[in-house]
């Protein structure tokens, strides 16, 4: 079976899903600004169904998603922001975006981009008693996802596996992991692992270490201009240290992901 016949699973959405959607929409009606509250409640309703659809699929596949850990579960947040996140403990946060049958792209609101490891496209038709899982993309910079560019659920499974392995490595006692945690300090590990995974899969081998180092520094552009100015020797040493750490981390990731 080749990838053009990618599985399109259908998720039945019954009483439980619609009760949750209704409950959150009801709370939204009380919390959103009066002039747009219906619009917001409708958005929350569909977002909740999308989250529930992905949640169901993950349960079928013996993952352990946590509905109540997401912002999409918090009325005060989802009444204000267009978020449809779902937490997979030990792996990261997925964004579950609804779209209608026939649409070819999904716009991703800025507020739904923080600390996300990937985006799952959930398609609805006239009858809201089921949804189709169209596929996913790993964490993106673009604020729009083309349906034509979606990866399959098989890719999704592999992707989640790589993230889970890297997560447990980075949270463990290995000296490289400890150093990396130190460098990353307070930044969200799950999202950074998703970035590392993308570098590992997409960048040419000889450029990976530089790309990983830029992830460490957080702001690749500024780091680059500092290096060119070469004003600060300590800064230069730090760069080399980070590059070495990047190499070591890549070596570990190669072991984990091979």
């Amino acid at each position: 079976m080749n990838s053009t016949e990618a599985p399109r699973l259908t998720v039945p959405l019954g009483t439980e899903a619609h009760r949750l959607a209704k409950q959150l929409a009801t709370e939204t009606l009380q919390l959103a600004p009066a002039s747009i509250k219906r619009e917001v409640a409708k958005r929350v309703y569909l977002n909740t169904l999308a989250v529930y659809a992905v949640y169901s699929y993950l349960k079928w596949q013996a993952y352990e998603p946590q509905l109540e850990q997401g912002d999409s579960w918090q009325p005060i947040i989802c009444a204000r922001w267009d978020v449809a996140d779902l937490v997979l403990p030990g792996i990261g946060k997925l964004e579950c975006r609804p779209l209608w049958f026939g649409e070819s792209a999904i716009a991703i609101p800025l507020e739904a981009t923080e600390d996300r490891i990937g985006y799952v496209a959930v398609q609805f038709e006239e009858q809201l008693n089921s949804a189709k899982l169209l596929g996913f993309v790993p964490s993106v910079e673009a604020l729009e996802i083309q349906i034509a560019n979606l990866q399959t659920l098989d890719d999704f499974v592999d992707y989640l596996e790589r993230l889970e392995l890297a997560n447990s490595f980075l949270l463990g006692d290995d000296p490289v992991a400890v150093q990396v945690r130190d460098v990353l300090n307070t930044r969200p590990i799950a999202e950074i692992i998703a970035q590392l995974e993308q570098i590992y899969c997409n960048e040419p081998e000889d450029e990976r270490a530089y790309a990983v180092k830029d992830v460490f520094t957080g702001e690749g552009i500024y780091a680059g201009s500092d290096r060119e100015l070469g004003e600060d020797v300590d800064e230069g040493d730090r760069e080399i240290e980070l590059l070495e750490l990047a190499e070591e981390l890549l070596e570990k990731l190669r072991e984990i992901w091979s």
């Binding site: 619609h18 009066a34 079928w60 596949q61």
Partner: protein, 231 residues
């Protein structure tokens, strides 16, 4: 088809529950099962819940609960899945109706259909895409009614005695709780003139106490309870 299913089930069962290989085989198997002709179908909301749970159960029970080495895999897989669906529906049925046993045989998909007919029609509604705007408006009305109910309960209990303590100086009986009862909650409402006569209080005094003190107080309580004023 039997061969395809045999191959997929074997792949699934070669690997532990959480391995990527198993999950990928499961992706394919679930698609196949969803397309099996004869898989119980209904738009009943409870049925959809039961079906959703069934897919989770399949993955966990398939390898020990289903014998893939006997012939007619498709037919038997369908029976196996449908019989689980049947039991889930039966659970829902007994939850809804109290524990009444349904001694129906579980031999074919016919049974699920008849059980579905027995499932109480739920008053829970699943909206459609084109009906979603109207549905949201309906939720809004229900929510207003809920605020109404909460307000009613609040007036009855008056937990902070805000309503009871608000009355014209020498008329503690003509407090806002009593007035709210008589002119707001009571159906049909009493006339102010009748209440004034009953408590021997000046009609204007009573009326202006209601309008200047009780009504704003109720309004504030309603807001606290979640009532929102249309802009």
């Amino acid at each position: 088809m039997d061969e395809q299913l045999y191959r997929l089930i074997s792949q699934v069962c070669q690997h532990p529950l959480k391995s990527p290989k198993r999950r990928k085989a499961m992706n394919l198997l679930l698609v196949e099962i969803q397309q099996l002709p004869g898989l119980g179908k209904s738009s009943h909301p409870d049925y959809l819940d039961a079906l959703n749970r069934t897919f989770e159960w399949i993955n966990r029970q398939l390898c020990q609960g289903f014998d893939r080495d006997r012939p007619l895999i498709q037919k038997r897989l369908l029976q196996w899945v449908n019989s689980y669906l049947y039991w889930r529906l039966k659970d829902l049925y007994s939850q809804a109706k109290g524990d009444r046993s349904l001694d129906a045989p579980i031999t074919d998909s016919q049974t699920e259909t008849s059980l579905l007919e027995l499932l109480p029609t739920t008053n829970f509604e699943i909206p459609t895409r084109s009906g979603l705007d109207a549905y949201i408006e309906q939720i809004e009305r229900e929510q207003q009614q809920q605020v109404g109910l909460k307000l009613e309960q609040y007036v009855e209990e008056d937990p902070d005695e805000k309503l009871r303590n608000c009355h014209p100086q020498t008329y503690p009986n003509c407090n806002c709780q009593l007035l709210s009862f008589r002119v707001l909650l009571k159906n049909p409402p009493d006339k102010f003139s009748a209440i004034a006569r009953e408590h021997n209080i000046n009609y204007q005094t009573l009326k202006s106490h209601w309008e200047r003190h009780c009504r704003p107080l109720l309004q504030a309580i309603a807001l606290e309870l979640g009532y929102q004023r249309e802009v």
